[in-house]
Subunit: 327 residues, 2 copies
């Protein structure tokens, strides 16, 4: 059994809790929280909960610690700190800071003899992997990534910060006609506006000026100004009833050409349609936790990403079973 710890218990931590239960070669040993442990109710109440400060004491009881904090302030500190004691996996998703984060984790992991796999999930993660492989196969071609339909937490938060807004949820939606053009191999050059639209459900406070709120949303730089944005005002009850999920997804497409005169077109498409963004992300992370455990058992150490892991290491099956049943 691979002994798993969860470090940080929000949506992602709960997702990991569920995912570990679906893998019969793993057991969840402990959850670590910054809150008062007795105040935290795990989905499966039998799981012991500890303070984050107690984690290092459990170095010999946990094979892989899964870090479920945020990328802005938690993971840059927590991942290098925890890889002193454990093999770790995180979902660090600030693309521009990945090289720096990699170096920080690698430096410590090389010394501690542990494996740290960073930036695991679907983007970065499965989408990155598909971009890489599709680029290596179709060397002459063009890449496209569309996100959605799905909830963007950052955009929802941005709306909530507007005066007069009680609550809000924002969906990112790919422009279907652009997607179809890409799938046909037409290789369009797409502006930001041509790739995605933004759909907002907003609960206004009593007496708030809805016209002003709608205008503030639609003209907000970076977040909404470059998009066709639709704003729907609804009641708090409607929001809680119809928009409580955290669906997401998207598609990575490589459109390429081969042949002496590049006369043959090829489309590689990888598409995710997810009811729960955090539960899916957690499922990817847990598969990679298995690889962290196995690589470390073989004596490997240091920081890794999805690019470095042989796919067979994600599976509980042996190499010969995989060749027989899945190749």
């Amino acid at each position: 059994m691979i002994r798993i710890g969860i470090f940080g218990y929000g949506n992602l931590g709960r997702g990991v809790e569920c995912a570990v239960k679906q893998n019969s070669d793993m057991e969840l040993v402990a959850i670590f929280t910054r809150r008062e442990p007795s105040a935290l109710k795990p989905l499966y109440p039998e799981t012991p909960v500890y303070k984050v400060e107690d984690a290092p004491k459990m170095a010999d009881k946990i094979d892989v610690m899964i870090l479920c904090g945020g990328s802005a302030t938690d993971l840059p500190k927590q991942t290098p700190e925890m890889v002193k004691y454990f093999n770790v996996v995180d979902s660090f998703d600030t693309h521009a800071k990945i090289p720096e984060h990699f170096e920080n984790v690698d430096h410590v992991a090389e010394k501690s003899g542990k494996i740290g796999i960073i930036s695991v999930g679907w983007d970065p993660g499965m989408f990155s992997l598909n971009r890489l492989m599709a680029n290596c196969i179709l060397t002459y071609g063009k890449d496209y990534t569309f996100w959605g339909k799905g909830v963007s937490q950052g955009h929802s938060d941005a709306i909530r910060r507007i005066e007069g807004v009680l609550d809000a949820k924002q969906y990112t939606i790919p422009v279907e006609s652009s997607l179809e053009s890409v799938r046909k191999g037409e290789n369009p050059d797409l502006t930001t506006r041509e790739k995605h639209t933004r759909l907002c459900y907003v609960v206004a406070k009593d007496g708030a000026d809805k016209e002003r709120i709608e205008n503030e949303i639609k003209t907000m730089p970076n977040y909404f100004a470059d998009y066709d944005t639709t704003v729907n005002f609804i009641s708090k009850e409607e929001l809680d009833r119809d928009h409580k999920g955290i669906p997401h997804g998207g598609v990575v497409i490589r459109s390429g050409q081969t042949g002496v005169n590049k006369e043959n077109k090829h489309i590689i498409e990888y598409k995710l349609t997810l009811d729960s963004n955090p539960e899916f992300t957690a499922s990817v992370i847990v598969a990679y936790a298995r690889s962290a455990y196995r690589l470390n058992k073989e004596g490997q150490k240091g920081c890794k990403t999805v690019f470095d892991i042989p796919p067979a290491y994600l599976s509980p099956l042996s190499a010969s079973e995989l060749r027989k049943n899945l190749l």
Copy 2:
């Protein structure tokens, strides 16, 4: 520069020739053929052509030999023979015999110190890889593979063997309504007939009994009897004009569920739409040839499959460039 050899020069060999030209870190050193070398005209006439018997003499001039023969009789002999001298990649696609082929190649490669990567292409190959990864992520779920729209060489050949048939081309087509049901997460149980239809274009000889031919096609066991099959009789001119391509493709879907009560559905879909089946297969093989070269440079040896190769090894970019630009 990675020095590539092509062993066997049919559609796949020509595809490899094109693909090598699209990779600036590779050069094509030689083509080996069972035909009289002077009778063979490569797409790029500057490439030297030799007899297959001369291959071993070029052991120090070629880094990776790409084996482009057929799975029925060529590759079971050629891959173990050639891995004595070269790192090799093949596209062995007889699923049931992969374990045996693996053992044969591994045995020789371990002794010769070379790398042999077998069963590379899209199925087996990219489809296998996606099946594996999707299964590791969504451990509770169901797998679906649909092929087409595309030309099946085996089915086209089966029609050509019927008396009175001059020429024929068969397209395998996924049943759109079944595909839609799978994409919606309905997890249908599908019969053979519900997954694919078969569309045949047949050129009959003068005076042949078309009704008998159509009946023989539609009732042919294994090939057509279990499918809804459409037979269109056309002229040789029409066949040559409208059906000269070798398009193919297909889609691998994993439909899974997560959550405490498996209340959240997720769909992972990998889809290929290919104008030229052999040119795309060749493009995959050439990317894996790079990994064979690099793994061997690091001192690795033995038989490998797509499951064993860290994705970063497919790319000419360095690990840090990949992390910076593609993760």
